[in-house]
Amino acid sequence: MHALKISRKSLGIPYAVFLLLFIALPLVVLFYYAFTNGQGQFTISNLTGFFTDPNTLGTLCYSFGIALVTTLVCLLLAYPTAFILANSHLKQKHVLLLLFIMPMWINFSLRITALKEILTLIEGNLARYPFFNAVVGMTYDFLPFMILPIYNTLSRLDGSLIEAAKDLGANDTGAFLKVTLPLSVPGIISGVSMVFLPAMTNYVVLDMLYNSTYIMGSLIGSYFSAYNWHGGSMIALILLAIIILFTLLTHGMEEDNENPVGGALL
């Protein structure tokens, strides 16, 4: 029995080594590069530089702005959609859900190309509404990731709670606000975390829609093109800090941490 336990455990060794080598070590290296300069000396100028330069601070604000508006728009579209789907009396509602999820599996760059052609047709010149286009592009890209988790929580909701609320005198709106909405918060939160962070970093959507304003991701891209590993590492680290902060804030409220997207795949 003893030898056997070791053999089962040892199956995990390659992956453990892989995790240490390619997930933990890159983070260590990122730290090292962020706090050193080209000569390998310790410096915090990369950090202070970011927080004193109006350009980079502007980028941070613009990223937050785009991410915030995108998340709100996604939420306003996704929540009613998920709600209607979850409450429909159709027998095959998971087929209907699949229709909303399917775009997830089509290459995003091709979908954004399609969107770009349509927006060009409607607007004539894409450069006229850069912020609007960025939000539309991100929403188009990320909407399925907001619909799915909200649908999952809503469809698992115990219907008798709503009935109980109504028996106790609540009207439809009251039951929704006091019962359904609070109980669907975990779904909203996991949806928000799947939209907000990518919206801060996915600069290709902006590039493809001719919005030349930088967001946080574009900063890494430009440092990368300039071979400035130290500056790029600091931006990556700042992004990482934002991501960790965001995850810690939402962690306690999330329902299934074990099953982010994978569970609903097929």
Partner: protein, 267 residues
């Protein structure tokens, strides 16, 4: 009235999600170079797509990368999940949390950090494809791990023990008892890995050889260029991918609902 409102909303969202790709599909069968005036029916976009060596290599390269990264990720992630599941709680939690890093991290950060480690620190040339493959395995393996772990938790441990009591070697018990029970997790992890790799842009840009392109990096560069033949051939590619995805999703769904019906018939 309320019902119509709901229906309209659903249709509006569907229109938003599908109109661009459907319109592009229609135009891919014409000789138009911009969306607007439809002229004649033409298949030349499809001819260009399948006969231009550059495009063909890019598509095949993307598929090859996705399959190899997904295979590696599935092997590593599945074994990792089994190992972590049977290890002490401490080791298991440690692996769980490291595994979570690429899942929550932005792809830009993951790609950039792998590029720094492998290319800048270790000096591995991007032309070896090692950084690219490693990057894609880092992207995919955590999701395989995450889809296998719940299956291990659902498993009845006594069946494995019974197999051992009946004289099976641990390796055989693992192959014949554990593996079949977690296979659905492994398969959905593999499918997830393929889609993640196919959809990736950021990790590829930071780790790929300069002469190699995946569909994403190619399309992004092509939209900045002005070659209209390539541009419209990519419309054909969107149409092809759209149809393939729709077919896969439909057939998977049909199979799932058939299995579901059988289950219900049994009960």
């Amino acid at each position: 009235m309320k019902k119509y409102g709901r229906l309209c909303f659903i249709l509006f969202v569907l229109l938003f999600l599908y109109a661009p790709i459907l319109i592009l599909t229609v135009y891919s069968f014409t000789d138009a170079t911009t969306i607007g005036a439809i002229r004649g029916f033409s298949l030349h976009n499809y001819v260009t797509l399948f006969t231009t060596p550059e495009l063909r290599d890019m598509i095949l390269g993307t598929l090859l990368l996705a399959v190899s990264a997904a295979c590696l990720a599935t092997i590593l992630g599945t074994l990792g999940a089994i190992g972590a599941f049977y290890s002490s709680k401490k080791v298991g939690t440690f692996m769980d949390s490291l595994n979570q890093v690429p899942v929550i991290n932005a792809d830009v950060v993951t790609g950039f950090s792998i590029c720094i480690l492998l290319v800048v620190v270790f000096g591995i040339s991007k032309d070896t494809f090692i950084p690219l493959v490693v990057g894609h395995v880092v992207l995919c393996a955590p999701f395989v791990y995450l889809s296998v772990i719940p299956k291990l938790k659902q498993m009845d441990p006594s069946i494995y023990e019974a197999a051992l009591d009946l004289g099976a070697s641990p390796a055989r018990a693992l192959r014949d008892i554990v593996l079949p029970q977690i296979s659905s997790g492994v398969v959905s992890g593999f499918a997830m890995a393929i889609t993640l790799s196919l959809d990736d842009y950021f990790i590829a840009t930071y780790t790929k050889p300069a002469t190699f392109d995946t569909i994403s990096t190619y399309v992004v560069n092509a939209t900045k260029g002005s070659q209209t033949t390539i541009k419209t051939a990519l419309w054909a590619l969107s149409a092809v991918i759209f149809v393939i995805v729709a077919l896969i999703v439909t057939s998977a769904n049909v199979r799932a609902s058939r299995a579901d019906q059988k289950e219900r018939a049994k009960a």
